[in-house]
């Protein structure tokens, strides 16, 4: 559905995308995971035809997408990172305008608006001005506005920023349903939970490059460990933390240490040291590593940096 071949995009001295190649198949729910400034939004804007690449080729459904060819964008729907709605207008007026831009008219447009508003539980608020909506409601409307024309490929650029959990779940459920119905979705985010929950395949992007590509399980196999151990970051455990230097990566956040061992490090050695220091086993929790660990392992920095 979407194909990038050695795509490069620069803004002055900054290389936002650096020779990216990527293929996304029809019906995929593809996650683009990376921190702020990694190149996610640039990749999305190129895919949406808002910009032209400086080098390389980009096609959607084998059609070259570019700012100069509006017809090539009919197959696309873009959910921008910001809430791209006219806040003085009602929900229905917004949808009518965006629908008409895709050539929808009359009863067909009316039906699509009704379906969309019902799908995100906004039918009762259709005549209210968008500026009177909560952030979650605006996000849901922001999503619907990109779907009225039934695109083949939906580009979601961090569509849940600042959304309450209830609206986020509603958006996730709706996207999952759309994907089950055959819609190809590219979903950019810096929340690993979203990528883990929604995406059938994930690309890890940083500094304009795709560092890894695959399903969650495939990505996890890139890690040199199968489990990571977390324990409280207290004065009591600090001698243990000091002994772990050189045996793996020790992350500290939110009052807890997370120890990701080297490939040749045996966990039995870890527990032996803890016992020798008089630390009880209840302090330690072993867990399957997350995408964040994969990101850290591949890029050397945290997703939230």
């Amino acid at each position: 559905m979407l194909s990038l071949r050695s795509v490069t995009k620069r803004y002055g001295a900054l290389t936002a995308l650096d020779g990216v190649s990527l293929d996304i198949a029809r019906g995929e729910f593809f996650g683009l995971l990376g921190p702020n400034g990694a190149g996610k939004s640039t990749l999305m804007s190129l895919a949406a035809g808002l910009r032209s690449p400086d080098a390389g080729a980009l096609t959607v459904d084998e059609v070259v997408v570019s700012p100069a060819d509006p017809a090539g964008r009919v197959a696309l729907g873009l959910v921008p990172q910001s809430i791209a709605l006219y806040e003085e207008l009602s929900a229905e007026q917004n949808l009518r305008i965006f629908g008409e831009l895709y050539g929808l008219r009359g009863a067909l447009l009316r039906d699509r608006i009704n379906e969309g508003l019902a799908a995100v539980q906004l039918a009762e608020r259709r005549r209210d001005q968008v500026k009177n909506f909560s952030g979650g409601m605006q996000r849901r409307l922001n999503l619907i506005a990109a779907l009225l024309h039934r695109p083949k490929l939906l580009l979601c650029d961090e569509p849940t920023v600042g959304v309450d959990p209830q609206s986020r779940n509603a958006i996730f459920d709706y996207l999952a349903q759309l994907n089950r119905d055959g819609l190809t979705i590219i979903y950019s985010t810096h929340y690993m939970e979203e990528a883990t929950r929604l995406c059938s395949r994930i690309g890890i992007i940083d500094h304009g490059r795709i560092h890894a590509l695959g399903t969650l399980d495939e990505l996890l196999t890139r890690l040199p460990f199968e489990e990571e151990i977390s324990f409280p970051a207290t004065p009591e455990t600090s001698p243990l933390a000091a002994q772990l230097a050189g045996d793996g990566v020790l992350l500290t956040a939110d009052g807890r240490h997370r120890f990701q061992p080297r490939a040749d490090f045996r966990l039995s050695a870890f527990y032996a040291r803890a016992e020798a220091l008089g630390l009880p086993p209840r302090l330690f929790t072993a867990a399957r590593p997350t995408l964040e660990a994969v990101f850290l392992h591949l890029t050397g920095r945290n997703l939230r940096e």
Binding site: A48, A68, R73, A84, E88, L89, F98, L101, Q129
Partner: protein
């Protein structure tokens, strides 16, 4: 085209839901036009005009007439024109026959003819002809006042000669000499002085009043051969042809002495001349504010991701730009029409008598103003800068373009600058329609200038908008 119309409809719907924008576009200008209509009608606190074009034809052999022309030349209020340029660029003296067409063509708006019989044979006083295109009432009154001032200050002997001539003709030489002797005696008895000197002064047309001033230093007495205070700034010196004489007003004494045949060449049928000009000026200024605000909305649409959304649809950048341009014209047309309609209701401006041509000028003015608004958006780095820049430039253009007061009130270099503004040409268009009742053909030069401004400014704006990557 359907995409552009959808985008225009979007902008209109957005505008109509924004009460602040609607108020600023329609209600505030109407309120201000109403208030300033009163202010301009009731108070005139100017310091005097400069450089008003004045055609002068001197057909009199009287040396005092030439002195009068020199006095007009010396007055900074006037730019005196006494010659006509032939097609081969040679010059000849202006004639009375030239004046109407030159005024009609806008070469100047006022002209004075000093006829051969400047001293009237059929009565007491002078005979002058004034031709005018009084499209500004304040300016017209000032011009009349300034002409009277020039006569009374510089050539009062013309009036004296007239009196002497008429009296001598009626009384005969012997009786008139006796009358002069008696008058000189009465003056010197009352105020002092030499009777023989006063009589000589009277006979030369000097009215003998120099002796009064010397002998009677009482500050409450004003010399009758000096201009009245009101005539110094022109206020209140209504021409004899337009205002009835008031028996006790000093200037009316002179009005009776100076017979002016006044002929208004342009705008005879305009009922409310001041309002016609005022509404046009304020309307165009508020239109500039409205379209500038609309163009500054570009920045909002960019920052909120709306451009991303619109351009990810089958919409081109050109369609976005032209829809905004078309929206500006629609908004301007509605705003100008509404304000002129308000002018009709408040001041009786004859809108419906020239509706077709007025709408054409409004459309061209709206296009020019919209292009200016888009240029501001193209030049400014952000919305705040755009608002600041547009406020500054709109104010300057309105002031120099003549929206607030007649351009002749400003120094000549500013008058020249004003002619490069959208405001000036828009107001010229309105004046041509509402004042002169020009035909569409006669409007073409002004429409051409407005279209040229639009094309030039839009070309720069579009180039800059693309260059600054507004849409990325």
């Amino acid at each position: 085209m359907r995409v552009i119309l959808t985008l225009v409809r979007k902008d209109i719907a957005n505008f109509l839901r924004n009460r602040a924008a609607v108020s600023l576009t329609f209600f505030v200008p109407i309120a201000l036009i109403y208030i300033f209509g009163w202010v301009f009608g009731l108070k005139q606190t100017d310091t005097g005009p400069t450089g008003i074009g004045l055609g002068v034809v001197n057909a009199s052999a009287n040396p005092a007439a030439e002195k009068f022309v020199d006095a007009l030349r010396a007055d900074s209020a006037f730019r005196v024109v006494t010659t006509f340029e032939n097609p081969d660029h040679t010059r000849r003296p202006l004639t009375e026959a030239d004046l109407r067409s030159l005024i009609h063509d806008g070469k100047f708006r006022y002209a004075v003819v000093i006829p051969e019989d400047v001293i009237r044979r059929d009565g007491i006083g002078l005979h002058l002809k004034i031709f005018s295109d009084p499209r500004n009432e304040i300016e017209s009154k000032m011009v009349n006042g300034l002409l009277q001032k020039a006569i009374f200050s510089n050539v009062p002997e013309l009036l004296g000669q007239s009196l002497q001539s008429r009296a001598r003709e009626v009384l005969g030489n012997a009786r008139f000499d006796q009358f002069n002797r008696g008058l000189a005696g009465a003056i010197t008895t009352a105020f002092g002085g030499d009777p023989a000197q006063v009589q000589r002064d009277l006979e030369s047309g000097g009215l003998g009043l120099k002796q009064v001033a010397k002998a009677a230093p009482d500050p409450t007495l004003r010399r009758l051969d000096t201009p009245a205070p009101a005539a110094k700034n022109g206020a209140g010196a209504a021409p004899a042809a337009t205002a009835p004489a008031k028996p006790n007003a000093p200037e009316d004494f002179f009005s009776r002495l100076v017979k002016i045949d006044q002929e208004q060449v342009v705008g005879k049928d305009v009922r409310s001349p001041l309002a016609t000009r005022l509404v046009g000026g304020w309307a165009i200024m508020f239109l500039l504010f409205a379209v500038s605000a609309s163009s500054a909305a570009f920045f909002d649409e960019k920052s909120t991701g709306l451009f991303q959304r619109l351009l990810s649809a089958p919409v081109t950048r050109a369609q976005l730009l032209w829809s905004r341009f078309l929206y500006g014209i629609v908004l301007g047309l509605v705003q100008l029409s509404t304000l002129f309609l308000a002018g009709r209701v408040m001041y009786g401006i004859d809108v419906f008598g020239h509706l077709g041509n007025l709408l054409v000028v409004c459309a061209f003015a709206a296009a020019a103003c919209t292009s200016f608004g888009m240029l501001v958006a193209a030049l400014a780095p952000n919305a705040q800068a755009a608002n600041g820049l547009s406020t500054f430039v709109v104010m300057v253009m309105s002031a120099t373009g003549g929206a607030w007061y007649p351009m002749s009130f400003m120094p000549e270099f500013m008058q020249k600058i004003g002619k490069f503004t959208v405001v000036y040409w828009s107001m010229e268009g309105f004046a041509q329609v509402l004042w002169a009742g020009s035909t569409f053909g006669e409007l073409l030069p002004i429409l051409g200038v407005l279209a040229g401004i639009t094309a030039g400014v839009m070309a720069i704006a579009v180039w800059r908008l693309n260059h600054k990557q507004m849409f990325e």
